[in-house]
């Protein structure tokens, strides 16, 4: 077990919430005010979570903000969808995909 500190909802104007895509707190707040109700909604509207870290360094904050804005308990907030690749990979490497078992 751990005593990690979960991030709190964060409304502080120009401070960045998504450091990879440089998305400010105020943009998240605006997306929520415009009707975003899930972490995936916020991601689609703002690009938060789409960057190099694939949400590692922002999704817990986004979840807390969605929880507060929608009045939904944090354990009912759906996670962001995880898609391959888990890290940025140059396309040319994927294009050279070799046969299975080789």
């Amino acid at each position: 077990m751990t005593d990690s500190v979960m991030p709190e909802p964060f409304d502080a104007g120009a401070t960045l919430v998504c450091r990879c895509e440089e998305i400010r707190s105020e943009e998240i707040v605006a997306a929520l005010a415009a009707g975003a109700a899930t972490v995936n909604d916020v991601k689609r509207r703002t690009r938060a979570g789409m960057g190099a870290c694939q949400g590692i360094f922002c999704v817990p904050v986004l979840a807390a903000m969605v929880s507060q804005a929608t009045g939904t308990p944090i354990d009912r907030i759906a996670p962001m969808t995880a898609r391959p690749p888990v890290r940025p990979v140059p396309l040319e490497i994927l294009a050279s995909l070799t046969e299975p078992g080789s």
Partner: protein, 117 residues
């Protein structure tokens, strides 16, 4: 450039003394930087007190290392003309031309590294 007082940890109460390995010389924005063989570029830069590796595309903010495991985008530099290189998971080698990545950086396909040192 402000000097954070960075240093290499030669002796340590628990860890073995820092082993002697070959040093590797490369350049960062024209400045000569000495690194240890098999260490990431970011480590050599931080040891030299260099903390700004890139500026970000949207707001121009400066960034340096953050996660040190290749997960975030903060340490991307331009190496031998190629941008988007994560300095924390890319090893130093002799004569590398490393530069601050300005925003998204531009691939310089005609770049020829000067390894004559």
């Amino acid at each position: 450039m402000s000097d954070p007082g960075a240093m290499r940890i030669e002796t340590h109460p628990i860890l073995e003394p820092l082993s002697t390995v070959s040093s590797v010389t490369f350049s960062f924005d024209g400045l000569i930087v000495v690194g240890r063989v098999d260490e990431p570029i970011a480590v050599a830069l931080l040891a030299a007190g260099i903390r700004i590796f890139r500026t970000m595309p949207r707001y121009g903010d400066p960034r340096g290392g953050y996660c040190m495991v290749g997960r975030c985008a903060d340490c991307m530099v331009v190496v031998d003309g190629v941008p988007g290189v994560r300095a924390c998971v890319t090893m130093v080698s002799a004569g590398l031309d490393v530069r601050t990545q300005q925003e998204l950086g531009e691939l310089d396909a005609s770049f020829v590294p000067d390894r004559g040192r």
